[in-house]
């Protein structure tokens, strides 16, 4: 459904040192640096998939999303969504997609939510029956009955984000772009939002592309992840494979009263006065515990599995990001 081939986008950034002299110099000569925000990225996404698009800040996530949504014009390479070029056929294309940018609002802040929805109905020329059906379904799924008559400015962030999601789904788009949808939300709202996104994906076969910094979003929602860093694609595949390749290690924590000497052949991560963190690696945890039992009085032990955040950190480290 979505075909991205050798996509590139370079931004020109004015280079200016601080201070008066450097500022005056820009009147005569301007230096620019060119930053490759997206560098030769290719992937394809099938209908009904949920794809997590992740990477550190400034990796080029949002830029890619903006090219996929037709807001930005790629420098080279091509984007085709259902055969349409998003930038050239913008008006036609955007009827078919929904967009939520977590850090921005698409609702009109000074009018009640329901007025915003009705306005969107007219903008997208949604059929009346379809609109009523979608609205009722979405509102009851998210339990928004009580707040849709409130002006947007009086909503909490969690409530607003739910309304943003409804707004992006009213016209039954076949693709939904979510750019950091859970940013700033509390745990309860996050869980509710994730459940809703998953629900929508299964009910309506909406293709969802999600960028986030919250790895638990990805874990809860998507099977496939694309990792991007410094504009380049680093990884594209299932989340479980990513875990297997980069996250096989477990961490053992031993708590003790007093430890004189650390036994040999142990990969220490961190040591404090009464506890030690050990990377188990290929060793067996019982061997390590046995070694410690010989040299000190072990009070307690904990074993941690590597979580997805650490896996991503490792992946970034591997590529020197």
């Amino acid at each position: 459904m979505i075909e991205v081939k050798h996509l590139c986008k370079t931004f020109r950034v004015l280079k200016r040192k601080g201070g008066i002299r450097a500022t005056l110099k820009t009147f005569i000569k301007r230096d620019y640096t060119y930053i490759k925000a997206v560098d030769d990225v290719s992937f394809s996404i099938k209908k009904g998939e949920i794809v997590g698009y992740i990477g550190p800040n400034g990796a080029g996530k949002s830029t890619t999303i903006k090219m996929l949504t037709g807001i930005l014009n790629p420098d080279s390479g091509s984007v085709r969504v259902g055969g349409i070029d998003p930038f050239k056929d913008r008006k036609k294309y955007v009827k078919n997609i929904g967009v939520v940018f977590g850090q921005k609002s698409q609702l009109w802040w000074d009018i009640p939510v329901i007025d915003s929805f009705n306005l969107l109905r007219d903008i997208y020329k949604i059929d009346k029956e379809e609109y009523e059906k979608n609205l009722n379904e979405l509102v009851s799924l998210l339990k928004l009955e009580n707040i849709i008559n409130t002006p947007v400015r009086q909503l909490s962030l969690g409530q607003r984000m739910k309304c943003e999601l409804v707004a992006s789904l009213l016209h039954s788009p076949s693709i939904l772009f979510l750019d950091e949808p859970t940013i700033g939300l509390d745990a309860v709202s996050k869980v509710a939002l994730r459940k809703f996104i998953k629900d929508i994906n299964q009910r309506k076969q909406v293709t969802i592309i999600l960028t986030t910094h919250d790895m638990s979003d990805i874990e809860a929602l998507s099977n496939r992840v694309i990792v991007i860093g410094k504009g380049k694609k680093l990884y594209d595949g299932s989340l479980s494979k990513l875990k297997k390749d980069f996250g096989n290690s477990k961490i053992l924590e031993i708590i003790y009263n007093k430890l004189d000497k650390i036994p040999e052949g142990i990969d220490v991560i961190k040591k404090t006065n009464n506890s030690i963190l050990i990377n188990i690696g290929d060793n067996s945890s019982s061997d390590i515990i046995a070694k410690f039992v010989k040299v000190c009085e072990v009070k307690d032990i904990n074993i941690y599995e590597d979580n997805i955040d650490n896996i991503i950190l490792k992946l970034y480290k591997e590529y020197n990001l």
């Binding site: 931004f11 955007v94 921005k104 009109w108 009018i111 007219d122 997208y124």
Partner: protein, 266 residues
């Protein structure tokens, strides 16, 4: 089209929420109207101005205050300008509408709603003021009809000019410069500061060929009969021509800006 219409309606209704702003605006309007009546009173008592009668200029003053929001040039839409600086414009671009028309409608609706809340009280007070400081009735029924048409077209033209200024803001880091320069020049050349018949002859000639006098000066003078019916019809035709020219220019500038737009970060 239905989308644009209902956006106009929504913006109009949203604009009517600002009642305190309207009351504050009314107080200012009365203050300025009375002050200008006094100034012109003093001025006309020692001079005769063949181009404009005292009655016409007092009427001009009251109309100017009544429809100030509709014809005010220094009107920035902070939401539009902020969406350019902070990148919310990205959302607007992900919608199936033409951004130029969309913003144009927003500014137009804002002008009409602001004027709607204020014009009636000022007109009423103007009518009951003691002579000769009162708002006179229209010169004739045809002048009144032409005044209404010309006033609305003036607002349509002004919004076109404002859209050009907002579009130029796309290219600059800060919009303040372009607004200060353009609105000050416009205020002077449009008769907003001093009615055009009171300006020096050479400036009057210059303003005749510019669109700015058609923003409101022409309308108020049509009302009082200072501009006769044939000239009024000529001015309205000129307004229509200028509206087309200005909107085409604004549209082209905006399209150029949107091609170059690069929404960074976030």
């Amino acid at each position: 089209m239905i989308g644009y219409l209902s956006y106009f309606k929504v913006r109009l209704i949203a604009g009517l929420q600002y009642k305190v702003s309207a009351i504050a605006g009314l107080a200012t309007a009365f203050f300025w109207a009375i002050m200008f009546c006094c100034i012109y009173g003093a001025f006309y008592s020692n001079a005769t101005i063949p181009d404009m009668s005292f009655k016409a200029i007092i009427t001009y003053t009251w109309l100017k205050q009544a429809f100030l929001s509709l014809t005010y040039m220094n009107d920035r839409d902070s939401e539009i300008l902020n969406s350019i600086t902070d990148g919310t414009v990205a959302y607007e671009l992900a919608r199936p509408y033409n951004l130029f028309s969309w913003w144009y409608i927003k500014i137009l609706a804002h002008k009409f709603s602001a004027a709607f809340l204020k014009f009636l009280p000022v007109i009423l007070v103007g009518l009951i003021m003691p002579k000769p400081y009162n708002l006179s009735l229209p010169n004739s029924f045809p002048s009144f009809i032409l005044f209404v048409i010309s006033l609305i077209l003036g607002a349509v033209l002004l919004c076109g000019i404002l859209m050009i200024i907002h579009s130029i803001a796309f290219f600059t880091i800060n919009h303040k410069g372009i607004f200060s320069i353009s609105t000050n020049v416009m205020m002077l050349l449009s008769g907003f500061v001093i009615p055009i018949p009171l300006l020096p002859n050479i400036v009057q000639k210059l303003t005749f060929y510019l669109p700015f006098r058609l923003l409101s000066d022409s309308s108020y003078r049509i009302y009082s009969g200072n501009i006769n019916i044939p000239d009024a019809i000529f001015d309205i035709k000129l307004q229509l021509i200028w509206i087309v020219i200005i909107i085409v220019i604004g549209y082209l500038i905006m399209n150029k800006a949107l091609k170059k737009v690069s929404v960074q970060g976030g």
